[in-house]
Amino acid sequence: MKPVANFPPSDGSMQTQEPRDAEPRPASGVEQSDLELVRRAQRGERGAFDLLVLRYQHKVVKLVARLLRDPTEAEDVAQEAFVKAYRALASFRGDSAFYTWLYRIAVNTARNAMASRQRRPLDYEADLSETEQSAVASRMSHSDTPEATVLSDEIHATVNRAVAELPEDLRTAIILREIEGLSYEEIAAAMDCPVGTVRSRIFRAREAIDRNLKPLLD
Protein backbone atom coordinates (compact mmCIF):
# COMPACT_ATOMS: atom_id res chain seq x y z
CA MET A 1 0.00 0.00 0.00
CA LYS A 2 1.36 3.36 -1.00
CA PRO A 3 1.31 6.27 1.42
CA VAL A 4 -1.40 8.72 0.56
CA ALA A 5 -0.61 12.21 -0.64
CA ASN A 6 -1.85 13.97 2.44
CA PHE A 7 -0.01 11.59 4.70
CA PRO A 8 0.04 12.72 8.32
CA PRO A 9 3.40 13.85 9.65
CA SER A 10 5.27 11.26 11.64
CA ASP A 11 5.93 13.69 14.48
CA GLY A 12 2.41 13.19 15.69
CA SER A 13 1.43 16.81 15.26
CA MET A 14 -1.79 15.90 13.47
CA GLN A 15 -2.59 13.15 15.85
CA THR A 16 -3.56 15.37 18.68
CA GLN A 17 -6.13 17.32 16.74
CA GLU A 18 -9.61 16.67 17.90
CA PRO A 19 -12.25 16.16 15.28
CA ARG A 20 -15.21 18.41 15.96
CA ASP A 21 -18.66 17.13 15.55
CA ALA A 22 -20.89 19.19 13.25
CA GLU A 23 -23.54 19.35 15.91
CA PRO A 24 -22.92 18.80 19.57
CA ARG A 25 -24.69 15.77 20.92
CA PRO A 26 -25.16 14.75 24.53
CA ALA A 27 -22.26 12.67 25.79
CA SER A 28 -23.04 9.13 26.84
CA GLY A 29 -22.28 7.84 30.32
CA VAL A 30 -19.15 6.11 29.06
CA GLU A 31 -17.98 9.28 27.32
CA GLN A 32 -18.52 11.32 30.47
CA SER A 33 -16.75 8.68 32.49
CA ASP A 34 -13.85 8.72 30.00
CA LEU A 35 -13.69 12.48 30.19
CA GLU A 36 -13.53 12.35 33.97
CA LEU A 37 -10.72 9.79 33.78
CA VAL A 38 -8.89 12.00 31.25
CA ARG A 39 -9.21 15.02 33.54
CA ARG A 40 -7.79 12.99 36.39
CA ALA A 41 -4.94 11.71 34.21
CA GLN A 42 -4.23 15.29 33.12
CA ARG A 43 -3.90 16.20 36.79
CA GLY A 44 -1.29 13.47 37.20
CA GLU A 45 -3.36 10.45 38.30
CA ARG A 46 -1.65 7.71 36.33
CA GLY A 47 -4.17 5.13 37.52
CA ALA A 48 -6.88 6.94 35.59
CA PHE A 49 -4.99 6.59 32.32
CA ASP A 50 -4.25 2.93 33.09
CA LEU A 51 -8.02 2.38 33.31
CA LEU A 52 -8.50 4.01 29.91
CA VAL A 53 -5.85 1.66 28.48
CA LEU A 54 -7.62 -1.33 30.03
CA ARG A 55 -10.94 -0.16 28.65
CA TYR A 56 -9.78 0.42 25.05
CA GLN A 57 -6.88 -2.02 24.64
CA HIS A 58 -8.86 -4.68 22.74
CA LYS A 59 -10.59 -2.17 20.51
CA VAL A 60 -7.34 -0.45 19.57
CA VAL A 61 -5.46 -3.72 18.99
CA LYS A 62 -8.33 -4.97 16.82
CA LEU A 63 -8.48 -1.72 14.84
CA VAL A 64 -4.72 -1.61 14.27
CA ALA A 65 -4.60 -5.30 13.29
CA ARG A 66 -7.24 -4.68 10.64
CA LEU A 67 -5.46 -1.61 9.28
CA LEU A 68 -2.03 -3.23 9.13
CA ARG A 69 -3.36 -6.38 7.42
CA ASP A 70 -0.45 -8.06 9.12
CA PRO A 71 -1.20 -8.63 12.77
CA THR A 72 2.42 -9.36 13.72
CA GLU A 73 2.91 -5.70 14.60
CA ALA A 74 -0.54 -4.97 15.95
CA GLU A 75 0.33 -4.87 19.64
CA ASP A 76 3.54 -2.89 19.11
CA VAL A 77 1.70 -0.28 17.08
CA ALA A 78 -1.22 -0.21 19.50
CA GLN A 79 1.21 0.28 22.37
CA GLU A 80 2.86 3.15 20.51
CA ALA A 81 -0.55 4.71 19.96
CA PHE A 82 -1.36 4.58 23.68
CA VAL A 83 2.02 6.09 24.59
CA LYS A 84 1.44 8.90 22.06
CA ALA A 85 -2.01 9.46 23.47
CA TYR A 86 -0.61 9.72 26.98
CA ARG A 87 2.02 12.25 25.91
CA ALA A 88 -0.54 14.30 24.02
CA LEU A 89 -3.17 14.05 26.72
CA ALA A 90 -2.65 17.65 27.81
CA SER A 91 -3.90 18.79 24.39
CA PHE A 92 -7.16 16.86 24.70
CA ARG A 93 -9.86 19.42 25.43
CA GLY A 94 -12.89 17.20 25.36
CA ASP A 95 -14.40 18.61 22.16
CA SER A 96 -14.80 15.05 20.93
CA ALA A 97 -15.20 11.73 22.69
CA PHE A 98 -11.96 10.35 24.07
CA TYR A 99 -12.22 7.15 22.03
CA THR A 100 -12.65 9.16 18.80
CA TRP A 101 -9.46 11.02 19.61
CA LEU A 102 -7.69 7.79 20.59
CA TYR A 103 -8.79 6.00 17.41
CA ARG A 104 -7.49 8.87 15.35
CA ILE A 105 -4.08 8.53 16.97
CA ALA A 106 -4.20 4.75 16.44
CA VAL A 107 -5.09 5.15 12.75
CA ASN A 108 -2.25 7.64 12.17
CA THR A 109 0.22 5.45 14.06
CA ALA A 110 -0.81 2.45 11.96
CA ARG A 111 -0.38 4.49 8.76
CA ASN A 112 3.09 5.55 9.85
CA ALA A 113 3.95 1.92 10.61
CA MET A 114 2.77 0.86 7.15
CA ALA A 115 4.83 3.61 5.52
CA SER A 116 7.95 2.67 7.45
CA ARG A 117 7.36 -0.98 6.56
CA GLN A 118 7.33 0.02 2.88
CA ARG A 119 10.65 1.77 3.26
CA ARG A 120 12.29 -1.41 4.60
CA PRO A 121 14.28 -3.58 2.16
CA LEU A 122 12.26 -6.54 0.91
CA ASP A 123 14.89 -9.10 1.90
CA TYR A 124 15.18 -7.64 5.38
CA GLU A 125 14.17 -10.77 7.26
CA ALA A 126 16.12 -13.06 4.96
CA ASP A 127 19.33 -11.32 5.98
CA LEU A 128 18.73 -11.64 9.69
CA SER A 129 21.11 -13.68 11.72
CA GLU A 130 19.83 -16.37 14.04
CA THR A 131 20.09 -14.09 17.06
CA GLU A 132 18.26 -11.30 15.27
CA GLN A 133 15.53 -13.69 14.14
CA SER A 134 15.11 -14.77 17.73
CA ALA A 135 14.83 -11.13 18.80
CA VAL A 136 12.19 -10.50 16.16
CA ALA A 137 10.29 -13.60 17.25
CA SER A 138 10.32 -12.43 20.85
CA ARG A 139 8.98 -9.03 19.72
CA MET A 140 6.08 -10.64 17.93
CA SER A 141 2.98 -9.70 19.78
CA HIS A 142 1.34 -12.29 21.89
CA SER A 143 -1.86 -12.10 19.90
CA ASP A 144 -0.11 -13.25 16.70
CA THR A 145 1.15 -16.59 17.88
CA PRO A 146 -0.84 -19.79 17.26
CA GLU A 147 -1.15 -20.22 21.03
CA ALA A 148 -2.66 -16.78 21.31
CA THR A 149 -5.13 -17.49 18.54
CA VAL A 150 -6.22 -20.64 20.32
CA LEU A 151 -6.47 -18.71 23.59
CA SER A 152 -8.53 -16.02 21.90
CA ASP A 153 -10.90 -18.67 20.54
CA GLU A 154 -11.12 -20.24 23.99
CA ILE A 155 -11.86 -16.90 25.59
CA HIS A 156 -14.69 -16.26 23.15
CA ALA A 157 -16.11 -19.74 23.74
CA THR A 158 -15.78 -19.49 27.52
CA VAL A 159 -17.47 -16.12 27.73
CA ASN A 160 -20.35 -17.17 25.49
CA ARG A 161 -20.81 -20.38 27.42
CA ALA A 162 -20.72 -18.52 30.75
CA VAL A 163 -23.36 -16.07 29.53
CA ALA A 164 -25.56 -18.89 28.29
CA GLU A 165 -25.42 -20.49 31.75
CA LEU A 166 -26.40 -17.30 33.58
CA PRO A 167 -29.79 -16.94 35.22
CA GLU A 168 -32.19 -15.19 32.85
CA ASP A 169 -32.31 -11.85 34.69
CA LEU A 170 -28.51 -11.59 34.77
CA ARG A 171 -28.17 -12.75 31.16
CA THR A 172 -30.73 -10.24 29.90
CA ALA A 173 -29.08 -7.39 31.82
CA ILE A 174 -25.54 -8.15 30.57
CA ILE A 175 -26.69 -8.65 26.96
CA LEU A 176 -28.66 -5.41 26.96
CA ARG A 177 -25.63 -3.62 28.32
CA GLU A 178 -22.73 -5.19 26.41
CA ILE A 179 -24.31 -6.04 23.09
CA GLU A 180 -27.11 -3.51 22.78
CA GLY A 181 -25.24 -0.73 24.59
CA LEU A 182 -28.23 0.44 26.66
CA SER A 183 -27.76 2.62 29.71
CA TYR A 184 -28.73 1.40 33.18
CA GLU A 185 -31.83 3.58 33.03
CA GLU A 186 -32.89 2.13 29.69
CA ILE A 187 -32.27 -1.41 30.92
CA ALA A 188 -34.26 -0.65 34.07
CA ALA A 189 -37.15 0.51 31.89
CA ALA A 190 -36.89 -2.54 29.67
CA MET A 191 -36.70 -4.97 32.58
CA ASP A 192 -39.10 -3.04 34.76
CA CYS A 193 -36.81 -2.86 37.77
CA PRO A 194 -34.89 -0.17 39.67
CA VAL A 195 -31.60 1.12 38.29
CA GLY A 196 -29.79 -0.20 41.39
CA THR A 197 -31.00 -3.70 40.56
CA VAL A 198 -29.69 -3.39 37.03
CA ARG A 199 -26.32 -2.32 38.38
CA SER A 200 -26.23 -5.29 40.71
CA ARG A 201 -27.35 -7.79 38.04
CA ILE A 202 -24.73 -6.63 35.57
CA PHE A 203 -22.06 -6.85 38.26
CA ARG A 204 -23.08 -10.38 39.23
CA ALA A 205 -23.11 -11.46 35.58
CA ARG A 206 -19.58 -10.15 35.15
CA GLU A 207 -18.40 -11.89 38.28
CA ALA A 208 -19.80 -15.18 37.02
CA ILE A 209 -18.05 -14.76 33.67
CA ASP A 210 -14.82 -13.78 35.45
CA ARG A 211 -14.94 -16.98 37.53
CA ASN A 212 -15.03 -18.95 34.28
CA LEU A 213 -12.27 -16.90 32.67
CA LYS A 214 -9.80 -16.99 35.55
CA PRO A 215 -8.53 -20.56 35.06
CA LEU A 216 -7.99 -19.79 31.39
CA LEU A 217 -6.06 -16.56 31.95
CA ASP A 218 -4.05 -17.64 34.99
Partner: protein, 194 residues
Protein backbone atom coordinates in the same frame (compact mmCIF):
# COMPACT_ATOMS: atom_id res chain seq x y z
CA UNK B 1 -16.40 -4.55 51.05
CA UNK B 2 -14.60 -6.03 48.03
CA UNK B 3 -17.91 -6.78 46.33
CA UNK B 4 -18.98 -3.18 46.79
CA UNK B 5 -15.72 -1.97 45.22
CA UNK B 6 -16.00 -4.47 42.37
CA UNK B 7 -19.59 -3.40 41.76
CA UNK B 8 -18.37 0.21 41.61
CA UNK B 9 -15.75 -0.93 39.13
CA UNK B 10 -18.43 -2.57 36.99
CA UNK B 11 -20.48 0.64 37.06
CA UNK B 12 -17.38 2.67 36.16
CA UNK B 13 -16.87 0.49 33.10
CA UNK B 14 -20.42 1.26 32.00
CA UNK B 15 -20.05 4.98 32.69
CA UNK B 16 -22.65 4.73 35.45
CA UNK B 17 -20.53 5.46 38.50
CA UNK B 18 -21.33 8.75 40.25
CA UNK B 19 -18.50 11.23 39.87
CA UNK B 20 -17.91 11.59 43.60
CA UNK B 21 -17.23 7.86 43.91
CA UNK B 22 -14.69 7.82 41.12
CA UNK B 23 -11.69 9.38 42.84
CA UNK B 24 -11.40 6.85 45.61
CA UNK B 25 -11.94 3.96 43.23
CA UNK B 26 -9.28 5.17 40.78
CA UNK B 27 -6.79 5.45 43.63
CA UNK B 28 -7.68 1.95 44.84
CA UNK B 29 -7.28 0.52 41.37
CA UNK B 30 -3.91 2.22 41.06
CA UNK B 31 -2.70 0.37 44.14
CA UNK B 32 -4.47 -2.98 43.75
CA UNK B 33 -3.28 -5.20 40.92
CA UNK B 34 -6.04 -7.80 41.54
CA UNK B 35 -8.70 -5.15 41.06
CA UNK B 36 -7.04 -3.94 37.87
CA UNK B 37 -6.96 -7.49 36.57
CA UNK B 38 -10.63 -7.94 37.37
CA UNK B 39 -11.41 -4.69 35.57
CA UNK B 40 -9.44 -6.02 32.58
CA UNK B 41 -11.44 -9.25 32.67
CA UNK B 42 -14.74 -7.33 32.70
CA UNK B 43 -13.56 -5.47 29.60
CA UNK B 44 -12.42 -8.69 27.97
CA UNK B 45 -15.77 -10.39 28.59
CA UNK B 46 -17.63 -7.50 26.98
CA UNK B 47 -15.30 -7.52 24.00
CA UNK B 48 -15.67 -11.26 23.52
CA UNK B 49 -19.44 -10.93 23.69
CA UNK B 50 -19.60 -8.17 21.11
CA UNK B 51 -17.32 -9.79 18.56
CA UNK B 52 -17.40 -13.55 18.15
CA UNK B 53 -13.81 -13.68 16.88
CA UNK B 54 -10.82 -11.53 16.11
CA UNK B 55 -7.62 -10.55 17.87
CA UNK B 56 -7.65 -9.51 21.50
CA UNK B 57 -4.94 -7.69 23.37
CA UNK B 58 -2.76 -10.11 25.27
CA UNK B 59 -2.96 -10.38 29.04
CA UNK B 60 0.12 -8.24 29.71
CA UNK B 61 -0.63 -5.55 27.13
CA UNK B 62 -1.82 -2.84 29.53
CA UNK B 63 1.16 -3.49 31.82
CA UNK B 64 3.53 -3.12 28.86
CA UNK B 65 1.93 0.19 27.88
CA UNK B 66 2.32 1.39 31.46
CA UNK B 67 5.99 0.32 31.49
CA UNK B 68 6.60 2.05 28.14
CA UNK B 69 5.08 5.26 29.49
CA UNK B 70 7.21 5.00 32.62
CA UNK B 71 10.32 4.41 30.53
CA UNK B 72 9.46 7.29 28.24
CA UNK B 73 8.64 9.82 30.93
CA UNK B 74 12.23 9.73 32.20
CA UNK B 75 13.40 11.75 29.21
CA UNK B 76 10.14 12.66 27.52
CA UNK B 77 7.77 15.48 28.23
CA UNK B 78 5.57 14.63 31.18
CA UNK B 79 1.88 15.30 31.00
CA UNK B 80 1.38 18.87 32.17
CA UNK B 81 -1.27 19.59 34.70
CA UNK B 82 -4.40 20.92 33.05
CA UNK B 83 -5.23 24.49 33.93
CA UNK B 84 -8.68 25.44 35.10
CA UNK B 85 -10.92 27.28 32.63
CA UNK B 86 -10.15 30.65 34.25
CA UNK B 87 -6.43 30.22 33.62
CA UNK B 88 -6.87 30.23 29.84
CA UNK B 89 -7.06 34.02 29.79
CA UNK B 90 -5.53 34.82 33.19
CA UNK B 91 -2.19 33.24 32.36
CA UNK B 92 -1.45 35.14 29.13
CA UNK B 93 -2.68 38.37 30.73
CA UNK B 94 -0.39 37.90 33.71
CA UNK B 95 2.49 37.04 31.43
CA UNK B 96 1.88 40.19 29.38
CA UNK B 97 1.65 42.32 32.53
CA UNK B 98 4.90 40.91 33.90
CA UNK B 99 6.62 41.42 30.55
CA UNK B 100 5.37 45.01 30.35
CA UNK B 101 6.52 45.74 33.92
CA UNK B 102 9.92 44.30 33.16
CA UNK B 103 10.15 46.46 30.05
CA UNK B 104 9.25 49.63 32.02
CA UNK B 105 11.82 48.84 34.74
CA UNK B 106 14.41 48.14 32.08
CA UNK B 107 13.70 51.48 30.39
CA UNK B 108 13.92 53.37 33.70
CA UNK B 109 17.17 51.67 34.63
CA UNK B 110 18.74 52.03 31.25
CA UNK B 111 17.66 55.64 30.53
CA UNK B 112 20.14 57.45 32.90
CA UNK B 113 22.96 55.32 31.63
CA UNK B 114 22.00 56.16 28.09
CA UNK B 115 21.92 59.86 28.94
CA UNK B 116 25.36 59.65 30.58
CA UNK B 117 26.65 57.81 27.59
CA UNK B 118 25.11 60.41 25.35
CA UNK B 119 26.80 63.21 27.31
CA UNK B 120 30.12 61.44 27.19
CA UNK B 121 29.62 60.62 23.57
CA UNK B 122 28.53 64.20 22.87
CA UNK B 123 31.67 65.54 24.53
CA UNK B 124 33.79 63.19 22.54
CA UNK B 125 32.09 64.27 19.38
CA UNK B 126 32.63 67.93 20.18
CA UNK B 127 36.30 67.26 20.86
CA UNK B 128 36.58 65.30 17.68
CA UNK B 129 34.83 68.06 15.73
CA UNK B 130 37.16 70.65 17.26
CA UNK B 131 40.18 68.54 16.37
CA UNK B 132 38.81 68.07 12.86
CA UNK B 133 38.27 71.82 12.50
CA UNK B 134 41.82 72.48 13.66
CA UNK B 135 43.16 69.90 11.29
CA UNK B 136 41.17 71.40 8.42
CA UNK B 137 42.55 74.90 8.92
CA UNK B 138 45.27 75.95 6.43
CA UNK B 139 48.61 75.69 8.09
CA UNK B 140 50.22 79.06 7.82
CA UNK B 141 53.80 78.74 8.89
CA UNK B 142 55.78 81.80 9.68
CA UNK B 143 58.28 80.79 7.06
CA UNK B 144 55.68 80.48 4.33
CA UNK B 145 56.17 83.13 1.67
CA UNK B 146 53.68 85.85 1.01
CA UNK B 147 53.31 87.13 -2.58
CA UNK B 148 55.75 89.91 -1.75
CA UNK B 149 58.25 87.38 -0.39
CA UNK B 150 57.80 85.29 -3.49
CA UNK B 151 58.46 88.26 -5.72
CA UNK B 152 61.64 89.07 -3.81
CA UNK B 153 62.78 85.48 -3.92
CA UNK B 154 62.05 85.31 -7.64
CA UNK B 155 64.16 88.42 -8.17
CA UNK B 156 66.98 86.91 -6.20
CA UNK B 157 66.87 83.73 -8.26
CA UNK B 158 66.93 85.70 -11.50
CA UNK B 159 69.98 87.60 -10.34
CA UNK B 160 71.65 84.41 -9.17
CA UNK B 161 71.05 82.63 -12.45
CA UNK B 162 72.74 85.41 -14.37
CA UNK B 163 76.00 85.00 -12.43
CA UNK B 164 76.03 81.31 -11.30
CA UNK B 165 77.07 78.25 -13.33
CA UNK B 166 74.59 75.67 -14.63
CA UNK B 167 75.14 73.13 -11.83
CA UNK B 168 75.00 75.70 -9.07
CA UNK B 169 71.89 77.25 -10.60
CA UNK B 170 70.14 73.82 -10.67
CA UNK B 171 71.12 73.13 -7.03
CA UNK B 172 69.63 76.40 -5.87
CA UNK B 173 66.45 75.81 -7.83
CA UNK B 174 66.16 72.27 -6.42
CA UNK B 175 66.61 73.37 -2.86
CA UNK B 176 64.09 76.18 -3.27
CA UNK B 177 61.50 73.90 -4.84
CA UNK B 178 62.00 71.30 -2.13
CA UNK B 179 61.82 73.70 0.77
CA UNK B 180 58.88 75.88 -0.30
CA UNK B 181 56.15 74.41 -2.46
CA UNK B 182 54.23 77.66 -2.25
CA UNK B 183 56.38 79.21 -4.95
CA UNK B 184 56.65 76.18 -7.20
CA UNK B 185 54.46 77.41 -10.02
CA UNK B 186 55.84 80.99 -9.92
CA UNK B 187 59.42 79.80 -9.76
CA UNK B 188 58.95 77.34 -12.62
CA UNK B 189 57.40 80.01 -14.85
CA UNK B 190 60.18 82.35 -13.99
CA UNK B 191 62.69 79.66 -14.82
CA UNK B 192 61.16 78.93 -18.24
CA UNK B 193 60.53 82.51 -19.27
CA UNK B 194 64.10 83.65 -19.92
Amino acid sequence: MTDRIREQMSALLDGELPRDEMGLLVRRLERDEHLRRAFGNYVLAGEALRSPSGPLASAGFAARVSAAIDAGTVDATPVPVAQPERARWVRPTLATAVAASAAVVAVLLVKPAVQETAVVAGGAVQQAQRAFALASLPIVAESSPTPAHSQRLAGYLMAHSQFAGAIGRRNVWSSVLASDPGITRVSYEFAETP
